[in-house]
């Protein structure tokens, strides 16, 4: 997919573009807010990655302008400011996700891919399925190969998130943010333990692995 990076540090932008290209995407970079705004208007991008602090025009203003012009392209905002107010400001301006510097590239890649393949929020799904794994969001039941799997409420939400992003890499931080709504890093790898619990329910009894660990990045649910 086509990704536009707006980042004033040229080296960082080049590094990000190279990483995204290696992951099979097309990437352009703009080094200030005005250029970024022009390029975003002209090009057909699937995701915009916008640095919050840029010369000539700051990231929040770029995002607000694009949203005011009716652009619906998913936007990931990058910022060195990591506290809750900044995050709220960023999301209020119209960004879809917020990533705090310094970040791991795997985290950026995972978030960009999740954003690009975001489903239309208008269609409400009541059923999710990945391979022989089925989830009924209304009855709150999970079946694998037709067999009932009993999950705790949080495990259910964890699996739901993984199923909604089946085939994509989701990072530990993303899970902590989206499933637990925590934006801090616990010192202990709590997510790993929850994932292994989930595995013991959806994978182990069935003899085949769907929930994979992606080294250095996170997890991926795949049929």
């Amino acid at each position: 997919m086509r990704i536009l990076i707006m980042e004033d540090d040229k080296q960082v932008a080049a590094f990000m573009c190279r990483g995204l290209r290696e992951a099979g995407h097309v990437c352009d970079a703009a080094h200030d807010g005005e250029d970024g705004l022009e390029m975003a208007r002209d090009g057909q991008y699937d995701v915009l990655v916008v640095d919050r602090m840029m010369p000539r025009r700051d990231g929040l203003s770029v995002i607000e302008t694009l949203r005011a012009e009716g652009m619906a392209t998913p936007i990931l905002i990058l910022s060195a400011l990591g506290e809750v107010d900044d995050r709220v400001d960023g999301l209020k301006s119209g960004a879809d996700d917020y990533l705090v510097k310094p970040y791991a590239f795997a985290e950026l890649l995972a978030r960009v891919e999740v954003l690009a393949r975001r489903r239309d929020p208008g269609s409400v799904q009541t059923q999710l399925s990945v391979g022989d794994l089925e989830m009924d969001l209304l009855a709150r039941t999970v079946k694998r190969g037709g067999e009932d799997v009993l999950l705790q409420p949080r495990e259910f939400r964890l699996l739901e998130f993984l199923m909604r992003h089946a085939g994509q890499v989701v990072t530990r931080t993303m899970l902590l943010e989206k499933v637990w709504d925590y934006h801090f890093d616990p010192q202990t790898n709590v997510i790993d333990v929850h994932i292994s619990r989930l595995r013991s329910k959806i994978d182990k009894p069935f003899g085949s692995t769907m929930l994979h660990t992606v080294r250095g990045a996170g997890y991926r649910l795949q049929a």
């Binding site: 990591g82 506290e83 809750v84 107010d85 709220v88 705090v100 310094p102 970040y103 791991a104 795997a106 949080r154 637990w180 925590y182 934006h183 801090f184 890093d185 616990p186 010192q187 202990t188 709590v190 333990v193 929850h194 619990r197 080294r215 250095g216």
Partner: protein
């Protein structure tokens, strides 16, 4: 005095240069009060002077008028000879009056002065004049002219009567008083200047000492302190506060320096490890799987480093206290339940007994995320330091004082009372835990979160260590209760 700093020489150059003591506030104030004193005493004494002079004049005029009436009465009743006799009698008796009775021709009939005063009388015949006193025996002495007042009356038959009174002594007395007053005022101003100079010299010498200490500190000698005289006056108070401030600055700088050292130490280890892994992955002709493993490990090392940086950043952010405006009413039990749910599987895996006892309906004003983070940090620590088989207990209850207490109790080794204040400092890790992962930010982050919430953090002995080696640890956050 020569050491007084002149921070603005450009201004100094364009101004009349006063001796340095004259520029001090104390000197100016003393001078001002001396001037005020001199001025007010001058005004008061001037009023007294005017009143005294007026009263003297009136008294003299009255005496003159009475004497004049007495002579006139005699003149009218018995004629010029009787008046003459009376005047001679009075003069010989040594009265203070001056007399002159002139015949219609202008010739002197009697009296103790020779001529009428040369000054013009006013419309009532009153006159002010000076005269030279005629001595007994008609000898004129060297005595200068004396001040006098008099009254000229025209009598029947063209006679002219003059009665005067010597007011020289009175005038001298008043002048004497006036001079004394002027001298006293002058002395008051002079003493004001001198005492102002002395006071300001003393004052500015002590201020100089404080200034000198400040300059020393600016020049990098942070141990320098302002001298105190322990009198408890405002300058001593200033010096004391100044020194306390320097103590605190010095402590903070030391802490920052040691924080810098420890962060460098904590980052060097994973960086070195990472570099080693990357290097061997590059050099070794190992198979692809080995290289991948080395790279993945390097990435997880980098993640650790990022975590450290983020923790440092959020701690700094927190300590600026900006976060308070996002506060809302929180049910502690709900937050604890979420955190417990997050950690319960971890405890199961690490072999810790985990229990939660949270009273419902206890609300505080705060930030959900921060309170959760503080709780998570405490549980993280408890898991890290409590040996396998130990117990961890999360608890929320109201205290007798009406506060809401959130506590995490473990059965680990505990922290010795004397070391408790230290563990709250940034980056401080007790020697015993140096080999455990983490950067020693956990507790200081909890402390910072407590401060933002106006909560009190306390460390106590726990119920004793599960393996009998230590006291256990109970860390409590005492929040002020907030009812929605």
């Amino acid at each position: 005095m020569s050491s007084v700093a002149q921070p603005a020489p450009d201004v100094e150059g364009s101004r009349f240069i006063l001796p340095s003591f004259a520029r001090t506030t104390a000197f100016r104030l003393t001078l001002l009060s001396a001037a005020l004193f001199a001025f007010s005493s001058f005004v008061i004494l001037a009023l007294v002077y005017a009143a005294t002079v007026t009263a003297g004049v009136r008294r003299a005029d009255n005496a003159i008028a009475q004497e004049s009436i007495a002579i006139e009465a005699r003149f009218r009743a018995e004629g010029p000879a009787a008046a003459n006799r009376y005047i001679v009698q009075r003069s010989v008796a040594g009265g203070e009056f001056l007399y002159l009775l002139n015949q219609p021709s202008g010739r002197r009939l009697s009296g103790n002065i020779s001529n009428l005063p040369s000054t013009r009388p006013d419309d009532q015949g009153r006159v002010r004049f000076t005269y030279e006193r005629a001595r007994v025996g008609g000898q004129s002495t060297a005595e200068p002219s004396r001040a006098a007042r008099g009254l000229i009356s025209n009598l029947e038959g063209g006679y002219t009567l003059f009665v005067g009174l010597d007011v020289e002594d009175e005038a001298r007395f008043v002048t004497y008083i006036l001079n004394s007053v002027l001298i006293a005022s002058g002395l008051a101003v002079a003493m004001g200047i001198v005492s102002g100079a002395l006071v300001s010299r003393r004052f500015s010498r002590r201020l100089d000492d404080i200034n000198a200490a400040a300059r020393e500190v600016m020049a990098g000698r942070l141990q320098s302190r302002a001298p105190r005289n322990f009198s408890g006056d405002e300058l001593d108070d200033l010096a004391s506060n100044f020194n306390d401030m320097l103590d605190r600055v010095e402590r903070l700088m030391q802490r920052m320096r040691s924080a810098g050292d420890s962060i460098a130490h904590d980052l060097r280890l994973p960086l070195t490890r990472m570099r080693g892994r990357l290097e061997s992955a590059l050099v070794d002709a190992g198979d692809l799987a080995d290289r991948e493993a080395a790279l993945a490990q390097a990435i997880s090392d980098a993640d650790e480093l990022l975590k450290t940086f983020n923790a440092v950043l959020s701690l700094s952010r927190l300590q600026t206290g900006e976060r308070r405006r996002a506060f809302e009413t929180l049910d502690l039990a709900a937050i604890i339940a979420d955190v417990a749910e997050l950690y319960e599987p971890v405890c199961e895996e690490t072999g810790h007994e985990f229990a939660v006892d949270a009273a419902d309906g206890l609300t505080i004003l705060g930030d959900r995320e921060l309170v959760a983070q503080a709780t998570a940090n405490l549980v993280d620590n408890a898991i890290k330091y409590t040996p396998e088989g130990g117990a961890i207990m999360l608890r929320v209850r109201s205290t007798s004082s009406g506060a809401v207490e959130l506590s995490v109790t473990d059965t680990g080794p505990g922290i010795a009372p004397e070391e408790r204040p230290r563990v709250l400092e940034r980056f401080v890790r007790l020697e015993a835990s140096r080999n455990l992962p983490g950067v020693g930010l956990g507790l200081s982050l909890v402390q910072a979160i407590a401060e933002v919430h106006g909560a009190e953090l306390s460390l106590d002995d726990g119920p004793g260590a599960s393996n009998g080696d230590g006291t256990g640890l109970r860390i409590a956050l005492l929040f002020p209760r907030h009812r929605a």
